[in-house]
Amino acid sequence: MGNVIVWIVWFAALFACVGSGVAVVSMTNPFYSAIALIGNLGSLAVFFLLLQAEFVAAAQVLVYAGAVMVMFLFVIAYLGGQADAPWAGGSSWQRWAAVIAASALLLEIVMVIGLKAGGRLSDEADVRESFGSPADIGRLFLTDHLLAFEITSIVLLVAAIGGVVLGAHSRQGDPRYESPAGVPVSRERTLPPEPVNATPHDASGAGVPG
């Protein structure tokens, strides 16, 4: 009975995974693509749970579907209409070459795995109940893989600094942040006061419809 349920869950995750993957690649609105990728990551977390990788599944949902995808959605919202992606560009031979290259890649992966490990894939190791638990992962990270753990933290630090450097821009010369006399003004952008006799051509142009 439990066997059947595992298969049902597996096939549901399969359809969610492949369907959302195709949706990510084929949507023209990147916002929908990002939402589809969240579904993809969620169904992958189901696979991870079936493979007794509880900690990785939790990290997948928290880090990926939570933090990373929210960042994606914020950037897409920031870009607005600039982010719209026409379906595919380039000449038609480029499109066909892309499809052929991707199919060749799939064929190659399947053939290599089948040739090298085809006969040995079905026998599976017996694992303890605690396989993949946070305690086991944490112990391995702080003993055998301590160097990898520390290097990962450096990589994350460098990426954070790189993100700040790429995202930073000088506000010097930007009239929104400087008053004419050179006195620094508040950086909070406030709506202009309600005009009593609003002229149609307001100098700032902000807040006045039309």
Partner: protein, 102 residues
């Protein structure tokens, strides 16, 4: 084991990887390219975790966690580049960015 064995998971992983590769090669928006790259990384992660279960060795899961950290860093840098491009009023199209061409 009751349930699908590792071959099935590897099939899903290779399909995911090929889907992501198709997106990277086909689409021209850097945002979609980044999202497709995430799919490729996740296909690799699924294969790692499937093999970790088959071998009964946790090293594969450790590797998958490291891959997730690298993917997060890559997203930060990639999105930073996209925002910088948008701020310079460049068209968000990877075919248009030819300044580095020799």
């Amino acid at each position: 084991m009751n349930g699908p064995d590792v071959t099935w998971y590897l099939a899903v992983a290779s399909i995911l990887f090929a889907t992501g590769a198709l997106g990277v090669l086909l689409r021209r928006s850097p945002l979609i390219v980044l999202l497709s790259l995430e799919i490729m990384l996740n296909g690799a992660n699924l294969a790692l975790i499937a093999f970790a279960r088959q071998q009964g060795d946790l090293d594969g899961q450790i590797f998958a966690l490291a891959v997730m950290a690298v993917a997060a860093s890559e997203v930060v840098v990639g999105l930073g580049l996209i925002v910088a491009m948008a701020r310079r009023r460049l068209v968000l199209d990877v075919d248009e960015l030819t300044t580095l061409r020799g």
